[in-house]
Symmetry: C2
């Protein structure tokens, strides 16, 4: 049942503690961390793991479709363990990124088919605003 085990076996990729740790960490949080943040978060449990390994693990996880790369317009990428297409919202004050749940934007692709000659595969929707914590400062 453990998806990562099956997918890695299927693709002949090795299931290393580092890759598992990165994946589990992303599954456990909804904070859309950067590679650097993941690296620091795992440092106490995996003190010998290097930042380069985090980057390599993330690349592999994205390639096999277990993790999603997002970019809200910062200088770095963030990662999301939820690969279901869903919108994100970025607080322009504190910088955090939250998921928007309960709204589906599946209809967007249909709405533009008549306005483009591309074959559309996916979309990314980002909202920008001020979060509740920052409003009350």
């Amino acid at each position: 049942m453990n998806t990562i085990t099956n997918i890695f076996r299927e693709k002949n990729l090795k299931l290393t503690p580092q890759r598992i740790a990165v994946y589990k960490y992303l599954k456990s949080t909804n904070e859309h961390p950067s590679a650097e943040i993941i690296y620091k978060a795992l440092q106490s449990d995996y003190p010998t793991m290097s930042l380069a390994t985090v980057y390599k693990a993330l690349k592999t996880l994205v390639e096999v479709g277990l993790v999603q790369e997002i970019n809200v317009g910062e200088s770095n990428f963030r990662y999301d363990g939820n690969t279901n297409p869903h919108p994100h919202i970025h607080c322009i004050s504190c910088g955090k990124v939250d998921d928007i749940i309960g709204v589906s934007f599946d209809d967007l692709n249909d709405r533009i088919t008549d306005h483009t000659d591309y074959d559309i595969l996916t979309n990314q929707v980002y909202f920008y605003g001020v979060c509740n914590d920052c409003k009350n400062l």
Copy 2:
């Protein structure tokens, strides 16, 4: 009537040939160029302008709201002389970025207000697919 003249005067910014060139170039194209591309495109007309100056001009233009910074998930930013909110589509085969015109996504912000406690200001919608040229290869 030249917006850049009025806005720059208003903000006490200097209207230099370099800033004007960058702005005019962005207004003249719909190709969403990177800083590097803009730099190269202007090199014949402004052979002494440096890449750093292009970056500084872009930063200023974004700050005063004459230009929009976009990021479709590449390692660099792209710039758009059209500051009206509008969706973009990125060809995953050749890498080009096109505007989607004739569709408004103003309703998106309303659709999520009940699903977030953020005060929403704007959104960015990116589509991903294969462009007409790449389909026919």
